[in-house]
Symmetry: C2
Subunit: 136 residues, 2 copies
DNA sequence: ATACCTGCAAAAGCTTTGCACCTAC
DNA sequence: GTAGGTGCAAAGCTTTTGCAGGTAT
């Protein structure tokens, strides 16, 4: 959303990147880099933590992953369809289950606020946290 | 926003807490704990970094400060009036200048999404980032 | 006098970087 | 063969914790 792909980087096919994306496609919640690494290790994969960080960044850049920052400041990742439009999430703060939601009004209101206060190059983030049906 | 004050904690009058709040009341932007500590030190105050962290937590809990997490995962703080209703901000990503904004529709839509997906105890956060008039 | 407040230093996390080696192209 | 990918270890950061001494009540 902010920068997008930054320049014509030559990316090779990377076995680890594929594995990470594949792993995340089987998960329906936001995971931290550390969790992803731990899960994949205990699954038997051989890969380093640094690689996880590096490839997650690329996957976000390519639009394969959504990324948010948790209220604790940890970066969290989740798979999402490529070239979907900007969207938001409602996230269970207990089990982490996530639903994608569309709130088109948010986009309009962000634009409006930007115009009123003469801000340009506006981005925004909106995440809704709560307890899902199972957890409440 | 999430927990609120957690229990009847006996808090003494703390000189450092008062100093920190006073300092922040003279600033119109979100600052990190580290920045707050640095500014106050260079101003001649004598206080430790750990104290800054501890008192900031209390000040947020008491409703004297707003707290957000930057896109980089750093916790940021800013003074706000006590018992003001929930509100949002538009923040200059260059100079940090901040305006408080009211977007009542967001509250309604969060409720709506919660109802649709059967979530309870819902909270949300929305922050808008951009470049202010001076910085763009 | 008690229990919270402080500062310092150490420790704990998360994330990034340097480097030598490996591999896709 | 070249440039990106990978793992490991080290380093950088922010934030938390332990502890001895200080201070409000």
């Amino acid at each position: 959303m902010t920068t997008g792909s930054r320049g014509p980087e030559k990316r090779r096919n990377s076995s680890r990147r594929n594995l990470i994306l594949e792993h995340l496609q089987g998960v329906d919640r936001f995971l931290s880099s550390q969790e992803i690494h731990k899960q994949m290790k205990s699954r038997g994969e051989s890969l380093g933590l640094a690689t996880v960080y590096r490839q997650l960044e690329i996957l976000v850049d390519e639009g394969h992953l959504d990324s948010i920052v948790s209220p604790q400041g940890e970066k969290l990742f989740r798979h999402c369809g490529v070239d979907e439009s900007h969207h938001h999430h409602i996230i269970c703060r207990k089990c982490g289950m996530t639903r994608q939601i569309e709130i088109s009004e948010v986009e309009e209101m962000a634009e409006l606020a930007a115009k009123r206060y003469k801000f340009t190059e506006v981005t925004h983030n909106l995440e809704i946290f709560g307890l899902c049906e199972k957890c409440s």
